[in-house]
């Protein structure tokens, strides 16, 4: 059984479509373009370039293709993840490697789960279906299956990407903090902020407690959450969620609230070090001045004849003595 799966899922990142032409890689996830996706509960992002793009009426029409390989390796499944962020008409096609051309009658079926979808045989060795993805319900996993030895599936997974901040944001009690989320490529319809309270995510409503939270939408792709009058309880994880036409995606931010004592300790340590060093320098200088004073008194007694000799000798000698010091 050769199967190709197309898994079309919630857009979590804006899909910049990448020109992917799979060569029948046997990895579980075929990645095109730059980003690697690791499937799982986490939201992952991938970028895909558009293979072809035609505007059919008001809806963009994108074609995605997967090539089923000639080598039969057991248990292989080709999965492609496609990210869509808005309503699109897409065409998914499975193309067979020329190795199969010897098979006269090929049974290819397009399925979504158990449901079979009518397909069009575009050419001798490629089969395609057209899908109109207009809302969440159409997202999912589509597979093309070739009756044969092995099963190959191609999964398409689209995730628009938004970004928070990896490092924690540090602020102080009584101060304010600004948490920022950015969306790349596409502008979300709406932003929502959540705070985690005992494992649960609670939406932040800025109109309820006016003095505490302010949510600013700086631009279409950037949102600011300003938390004022910070307390220890505000410390923790925050989520920003971007809603796109076809789904939502989240990003995580961490806020650390410190008390003023925390930076005070290193501050006092450095100040102490400075005071100690200055004291040492001053003491050393006083000590060496005392030594010099004794020497000066001694030399003063003998310096008179010294000076007379110098003046009588004139310019050259005194320059020489200058250099000697």
């Amino acid at each position: 059984f050769l199967t190709g799966f197309f898994h079309i899922s919630e857009p979590l990142t804006a899909a910049r479509t990448v020109n992917w032409q799979t060569r029948g890689s046997t990895s579980d996830h075929l990645t095109l373009g730059n980003n690697v996706s690791t499937s799982g509960p986490d939201l992952t992002t991938q970028n895909f370039k558009q293979a072809t793009k035609e505007n059919v009426s008001n809806v963009t029409f994108v074609e995605y293709e997967v090539l089923l390989p000639g080598e039969c390796v057991s248990g292989t499944s080709i999965e492609k993840n496609i990210t869509l962020d808005n309503a699109t008409t897409i065409e998914l096609s499975c193309r067979l490697d020329s190795k199969y051309s010897h098979l006269k009658s090929l049974q290819v079926a397009w399925k979504r789960g158990n449901e079979t979808i009518r397909h069009i045989r575009k050419t001798e060795n490629s089969w395609s279906i057209q899908l109109k993805i207009l809302d969440n319900s159409k997202l999912g996993s589509y597979s093309c299956m070739l009756e044969g030895e092995e099963e190959i599936s191609a999964k398409f997974h689209l995730q628009p990407k938004i970004k928070g901040k990896e490092k924690p944001v540090v602020s102080y009690e009584g101060d304010k903090a600004v948490l920022i989320c950015k969306s790349f490529d596409y502008a979300p319809i709406a932003w929502t902020w959540y705070m985690t309270n005992g494992g649960e995510q609670i939406a932040i409503n800025d109109s309820l407690v006016a003095d505490k939270y302010v949510i600013n939408r700086i631009s279409a792709s950037v949102t600011h959450l300003i938390i004022m009058k910070l307390t220890k309880e505000d410390d923790g994880v925050y989520w920003c969620e971007a809603a796109f036409e076809l789904g939502k995606s989240k990003a995580k931010l961490t806020l650390k609230v410190l008390s003023l004592v925390v930076p005070l300790k290193p501050f006092l340590a450095v100040v102490a070090e400075v005071v100690i060093l200055v004291t040492i320098v001053v003491l050393y200088e006083m000590y060496s001045k005392k030594k010099e004073k004794h020497a000066v008194e001694f030399w003063n007694l003998t310096s008179l004849s010294y000076r007379e000799a110098e003046e009588s000798n004139g310019l050259e000698n005194s320059s020489a003595r200058h250099r000697k010091i």
Binding site: P263, F267, L277, V282, W299, E311, H322, R323, I325
Partner: protein, 505 residues
């Protein structure tokens, strides 16, 4: 040998405690130059915090830089009056106070004042006296001392950049400013090391009575009369010539405006003001240029690291080269050459393609940058002499202040207008090559005139009527050659000293 303050004008020690002073100057200069650059890490966060645009934040940096350079004359006046040590310690204290108060700011305007003005002023009080005191402690080995002290800037920058990042990740920007304020207090330690040298020697007093000066003048100029005791004579002769105009005289005590009649000083001033127009812009735009031609962010940052490391090595090395017997008498040519070399690097930069080309450019740029910086103050000292240097450095920095501030924005405008970085590099390169050539030609002329004056002076020496004391000779010579600092004196002694060295080794 008898201690320095016995009965005659002491020469600079050229060693001993001088090296400790160099270390102090290393720290102080390092903070003064590197600290404003290191703050760039915090700007993005502060910009988001206060909700301002990037240019408003960039003003903090500009104000700090402008104050550091613009407060130069004030620094010079204070050093003339009180000596280097109290000024540096006060400067360190001011920096600390500035940054600590910046940690508690609630608006961008307060940041301008605390970070921009106060800290900038404190850094100015650090920078000038550190450079000045090197001139007081060194003569023969002054270029080395200058090179070593100026190396503080890249070393501090390399230390501050990761430190700032670490502080920021752990304490946020407010906590970081608090701790940085404490770190800046280390400038006070550096200042404590600046032991005053050559104060109130007996020969100075006899000098004063010979000239018939009043006690007030003596006290004020005492600190300025370190080793070359007759060097304050030019100021005295000025007074006699001007017929005792008290107001101008008083100002000249604190800040020697007569320098503007000094040929060497004017040459230096014009050349340097021109040079600074193209000096800093390439550094500011190197990383953006790298990203523009497609290099990733980390490699672009690495270019700056290469620059800093090469700079670090280049400065003391240039100091050693400049101290050698071949270069020292003609140090002005070496300086002009390094400026022109710097300019040529910029002119060739647009030809660099790809990352390797830029790495080569960064290396040569770091080398040229280090060479110029190491000799920046050394050449000024060489031209005006150590005593007048105090005022000279103040006047030079305030003049340079304008072009330093103008340089990067002009570069930025060129980039925005033409959409291409190469015009900025061409402009910087052309300006610097021009400055280098100007300095070369004018210094050639200056050397010739000085040689002529030296000959005339030697002719006068033969005259049996002139009193044969070293100081009187210099007095006459100075009266004839108006505004000529005693730069020939150290050069002459230098040459004789070097001859002795060569013969001795």
């Amino acid at each position: 040998p008898p201690p320095a303050n016995v009965g005659r004008a002491p020469g600079p020690p050229d060693g001993g405690w001088g090296w400790v002073v160099v270390f102090g100057a290393f720290v102080s200069i390092g903070f003064a130059y590197a600290f404003p650059k290191g703050l760039a890490i915090f700007f993005k966060e502060i910009q988001d915090f206060f909700g301002t645009s990037y240019s408003e934040i960039a003003w903090v940096s500009s104000i700090m830089l402008a104050t550091t350079y613009g407060a130069g004359p004030i620094s010079s006046i204070l050093v003339n009056r009180y000596g280097s040590r109290p000024v540096v310690m006060f400067g360190g204290l001011l920096c600390g106070i500035g940054m600590v108060s910046a940690a508690f700011c609630t608006s961008i305007l307060q940041l301008y004042i605390c970070m921009g003005f106060v800290t900038g002023f404190g850094l100015a009080l650090n920078l000038q006296p550190s450079v000045i005191i090197i001139g007081k402690y060194f003569l023969k080995r002054r270029p080395i001392a200058n090179g070593l002290a100026m190396a503080g800037s890249p070393v501090m920058l390399c230390t501050l950049a990761p430190l700032n990042q670490f502080l920021f990740d752990n304490f946020g920007w407010r906590g970081s400013f608090l701790i940085l304020g404490a770190i800046l207090l280390n400038c006070c330690v550096a200042g404590a090391l600046f032991r005053p040298i050559g104060a109130a020697t007996a020969s100075v007093k006899t000098q004063a009575t010979e000239e018939g000066k009043d006690a007030l003048k003596e006290e004020v100029t005492k600190d300025a009369v370190e080793m070359n005791s007759p060097t304050n004579i030019p100021m005295e002769t000025k007074r006699e010539e001007e017929g005792g105009k008290d107001c101008c005289e008083k100002i000249n005590q604190y800040l020697d405006f007569s320098l503007f009649k000094h040929r060497g000083f004017l040459i230096y001033l014009i050349g340097n003001v021109l040079m600074f127009l193209g000096f800093f812009a390439p550094i500011v735009f190197l990383a953006p240029y790298a990203k523009h031609i497609g290099i990733d962010e980390y490699s672009a940052a690495f270019l700056l690291s290469i620059l800093a490391i090469v700079d670090m090595i280049a400065r003391p090395t240039t100091g050693i080269i400049a101290n050698s017997k071949w270069v020292r008498p003609r140090i002005q040519y070496f300086f002009s050459f390094s400026i022109a070399f710097n300019g040529t690097c910029h002119l060739l930069c647009p030809l660099a393609s790809g990352y390797t080309g830029l790495v080569i450019y960064s290396t040569f740029f770091g080398l040229a940058f280090g060479m110029v910086c190491a000799m920046l103050f050394e050449t000024l000292m060489d031209l005006v002499g150590a005593a007048r240097f105090t005022s000279a450095v103040g006047l030079v920095t305030i003049a340079e202040c304008c072009t330093i501030l103008l340089g990067p924005p002009i570069g930025g405008t060129l980039i925005d207008t033409f959409g291409d970085y190469k015009y900025m590099f061409i402009k910087c390169g052309a300006v610097m090559v021009l400055a280098g050539t100007f300095l070369f030609i004018m210094n050639y002329y200056n050397y010739r005139v000085l040689a002529k004056e030296e000959k005339e002076r030697k002719a006068k020496e033969e005259d049996p009527k002139s009193v044969r004391t070293e100081n009187e000779d210099r007095n006459n010579w100075n009266k004839e050659t108006v505004g000529d600092g005693p730069e020939l004196e150290p050069l002459r002694e230098e040459r004789e000293g070097l001859k002795k060295e060569v013969n001795g080794t």
